[in-house]
């Protein structure tokens, strides 16, 4: 009984703050509402007996990704730029088509979704997930790590103000002697690019 109350309260929180992301015109308010919505989703993961993923949701999404969003919003100083209003035809078509899509989705979920409760206990703590991940999913895990490295390099190249050619000639000048020890070829390359 208490879990139903928790479910409905946090479902309402998630939906209201998600709607705030769409409806509010200030992107900082939108980002903070999205953080609140992600916290409510972490509560949903706890209710679904996945506490490890709830912790990951709070740490990775609410802690890392949304802080990145907030940094970029404040770096670009977007508050002083009023967002122009959307064209009425785009607004009308967007709202009606997404409402139709959502109603169809909920209708088919209510009609064909699974309704019986799962039997037995489902253990999904960090130990179980970790053992399965490092046995069966070790290759995708390594692929994801390479993807993250590529994303870091891509973000550095895309957001750098100076071009590659300006630092190409003098690599020694562009590598300041900061905390990096005598670097491996890969890290010197990324420093050069930046």
């Amino acid at each position: 009984m208490i879990s139903f109350i928790i479910f409905f309260f946090f479902a309402a929180v998630a939906v209201i703050f998600a709607a705030m992301v769409v409806l509010h015109r200030n992107p900082v308010v939108g980002a903070l509402s999205l953080v609140a919505s992600f916290f409510a989703l972490a509560v949903m993961y706890v209710l679904l007996e996945a506490p490890f993923l709830a912790a990951l949701q709070v740490i990775v999404y609410a802690g890392a990704i949304m802080v990145l969003f907030l940094f970029v919003i404040m770096l670009l100083n977007l508050q002083h730029q009023a967002e122009p209003h959307t064209r009425p035809v785009q607004q009308f078509l967007g709202y009606t088509s997404s409402a139709a899509f959502g109603l169809a989705l909920i209708y088919y979920l209510a009609k064909f979704g699974v309704t019986k409760l799962p039997e037995g206990v489902f253990v999904a703590d960090a130990r179980t997930v970790g053992i399965r991940m490092f046995e069966a999913y070790i290759f995708p895990f390594e692929m994801v790590s390479i993807l993250l490295l590529a994303a870091i390099v891509g973000a550095l190249i895309l957001s750098g103000r100076t071009g590659i050619s300006s630092t190409q000639g003098s690599p020694s000048a562009s590598v300041p002697s900061t905390k990096m020890p005598p670097a491996t070829p890969a890290s010197t390359h990324s420093e050069e690019v930046r």
Binding site: F7, M44, L76, L117, A124
Partner: protein, 100 residues
């Protein structure tokens, strides 16, 4: 214990809000946040079905989706910073260099 289809319906509502935001807003970063909202709705579906069928693969997929969303956020925000440097706006209607 809460039935699975309630979580699925909540996930459908969140996904629809995300679709609505992508279709009606013009601020690039807001559109990006709505994409994150849709990714989270799909994550909720994965976790709900993982509990329903006692499959731990769904949780591992959610882990990978979170890592990929982090990479996507890094690259996408870098693209918006670059766009802001060139156009001094992040209105996606202004980014029409490759339209015609």
């Amino acid at each position: 214990m809460i039935p699975t289809h309630w979580f699925l319906i909540l996930s459908a509502i969140l996904f629809t809000i995300g679709v609505c935001g992508v279709l009606t807003r013009r601020n690039g970063i807001t559109i990006f946040m709505c994409i994150e909202l849709m990714v989270n709705a799909v994550n909720l579906t994965f976790v709900a079905y993982a509990r329903q069928f006692h499959q731990i693969h769904g949780l591992i997929f959610v882990f990978f989706i979170m890592a990929i969303a982090a990479a996507e956020a890094a690259v996408g925000l870098a693209i918006f910073i670059s766009l802001f440097h060139h156009r001094h706006t992040i209105d996606v209607d202004e980014a029409n260099l490759m339209r015609w």
